[in-house]
Symmetry: none
Subunit: 205 residues, 4 copies
DNA sequence: CATGAATGAGGCTTCATTCAT
DNA sequence: GATGAATGAAGCCTCATTCAT
């Protein structure tokens, strides 16, 4: 990824591409639309990105990186009893995405690219490492609670972590599908069940 | 009379399109590939489907319809105590999709179409009704157990249903992303937690 | 022109083709439209006509033949003084076409085919012989009057005939272009001038 | 700045399209042929014209505009007695078209488009205004002569104008149909008759 | 560096024609 | 003979990419 002179311009283009890809999808998006959205000439994009595909991947990397950082920061700031920490993490993830639900279309495009893009492997790798990171954060949270004796150790922390991540993902998907859907409320109700299943002390008791 | 219309031809084309779209994705898929996969002429596709878009939507409808039927059948055949019924349903869904994991790429194309296709609304409608159906099946299962006193009524059946469905979805996604991922095992571990959280009697006790 | 068994069906198809070609033009007309207009199967057309081109040419031949016959009949029935005969012929031609002005679109298609069709020569030949026939009829009318001493012989009957034919043609064109245009009145006014120019006694004197 | 837009390119394409449409006709003409004739890439045409249809219409507009201008100029330069002015106008029109008789095929395509093109109305409008302009020029010429007492006022100038225009049109058509046909001689003979009919003093007397 | 005019590969789709029934 | 399902050649047009300015 040869970065050219003006890093601002690169970033502008990335931002513009993000909006355009989110709105139209990868294949239907036109390079000219990205150029116009970034207020640059069509040729300028190619000064910063080798191709449409490359641009899309760069958007993907950027977005995943930011999402990962945001979660890592949130996780690092967690405190209080186990159930509360889990609730906070869950709420934070759900809420941050609810605040930019229109970006979910973009996530779908990323998944699609992971399935069928000529460079699907790059997409796959990033997605996998993202999942791995998230799984580790959640898994560590549970294991720490198990080690600390806050919850019994009988459950497989890894599995629960994987499943919870999936649940968040999917609740956001349903929210995106149906604006009426109460993703936050549903996630809280469900987290209560899961936490009880894990043997955690209820939050308010 | 002319060459009698082969009543299977529409279905053959649909099958072929399913394979091609799954393999290449909607936009990169070529009509000629579908034609060749179906062993028909390029023009023949247009005897049965107005356009590429229409063909894709038909594949979507067919697939969602079949998936819905399969789950409805499975749900109708459930018996035994609550925890077992849930486990059976979960296992059935996970296993049936694991058996055709390559079709998951297609599901992602459907999501992508739902986000950005010109006829996204049609996709959205089908997806929503599919989710609604599944939510009802799972929700009814839980409520029946609550009514029967098998589990306490304190939890919101609807929320748990929504979340569980999402979890299955997302576990399969992870399995598709990483062939090493044990979706079935993870789902079982997680279901144990959830069932305990719901207050259900353990399966083997 | 291999005529097949059922001459009625051939005629039906010809009629249908005439309507369709007049309405849509040669290139935009679809064989299926002709088939439907003739209430026959698409393949049936090919039992009677080798190709679309051939069908179009057959329509052309038919139409030119009928037009030629009609004019010949009219001409044969002319009587009275020269000016009256000319007026009658002129009126008859103008009126018969005004009665089927929508067919004028078809004439334009014929001209177009004469210019650019792969078999333009066949079209050209028919058109030329049609013009020749008409020129002879009108020319003979004038020459007969010259011979009979009804008008002076100083003018070139052939030239006047050619020009008059063109005038009728073009007045009908203007009528087709603009439904307000009074082709009959214009032709009468003009014929008066021409007849006076030829030295004919006025019709009403 | 990018490669500077060649201001002639639009015109070059128009010229090329003119040749190709004249030679092959609208429907059989291929965009690639136009591109090659203009020595540009296929896509370049679409930088200047939205579609094949649009290109064709542009050719039409251009041609009608030029023809109109040419006639207006000729008309403005007319002098001498009435009969001479009419003769000059007639000769000028006939001769200018005889000099580019191959363009007559294009005129026929325009007529055809006026009859059957999806945008026939645009064609119709242009044709009508062209006819109106020409009718006014010729009509004014006659009326001026009537006003000046050069010819009696008994004839309808408008009608004669309409008919004469049609006659020129149709004589050129016959010339195009048959290269042997002497359009100029015929038009002169006929003009003599018409002028005599109008009561004009003979040219050479 | 930035630009946008020019390009042409390639896709979707149409439709005249064929031919099995 | 009549039919219409099947076909594939061929065309219009799009749009990512290039490169002269």
């Amino acid at each position: 990824m040869a970065r050219k002179a003006d890093p601002n311009k690169r970033h502008d283009i990335l931002q513009a591409a993000c909006r355009v890809f989110a709105l139209k999808g990868y294949a239907p998006a036109r390079m000219i639309e990205v150029a116009e959205a970034a207020s640059v000439g069509k040729g300028t994009i190619y000064e910063y990105f080798r191709s449409k595909e490359e641009l899309f991947f760069a958007v993907f990397e950027e977005m995943m990186g930011q999402a990962g950082e945001a979660i890592a920061e949130t996780a690092a700031a967690l405190d209080g009893p186990f159930a509360l920490r889990m609730r906070k993490l869950s709420d934070s993830i759900i809420q941050s995405w609810l605040g930019q639900l229109d970006m979910y279309a973009l996530v779908m495009e990323f998944w699609s690219a992971t399935a069928t893009s000529p460079s699907r492997d790059r997409f796959k790798t990033i997605f996998q490492s993202g999942y791995r990171q998230l799984r580790r954060i959640v898994g560590d949270l549970i294991q720490a609670a198990q080690t600390a004796g806050e919850v019994p150790a009988e459950n497989d922390a890894e599995s629960v972590a994987s499943a919870l991540i999936g649940t968040w993902d999917a609740l956001l998907l349903q929210a995106w599908l149906d604006p009426q859907f109460d993703a936050l409320g549903t996630s809280r109700s469900f987290m209560d069940v899961v936490l009880r299943g894990l043997g955690a002390a209820p939050i308010d008791a």
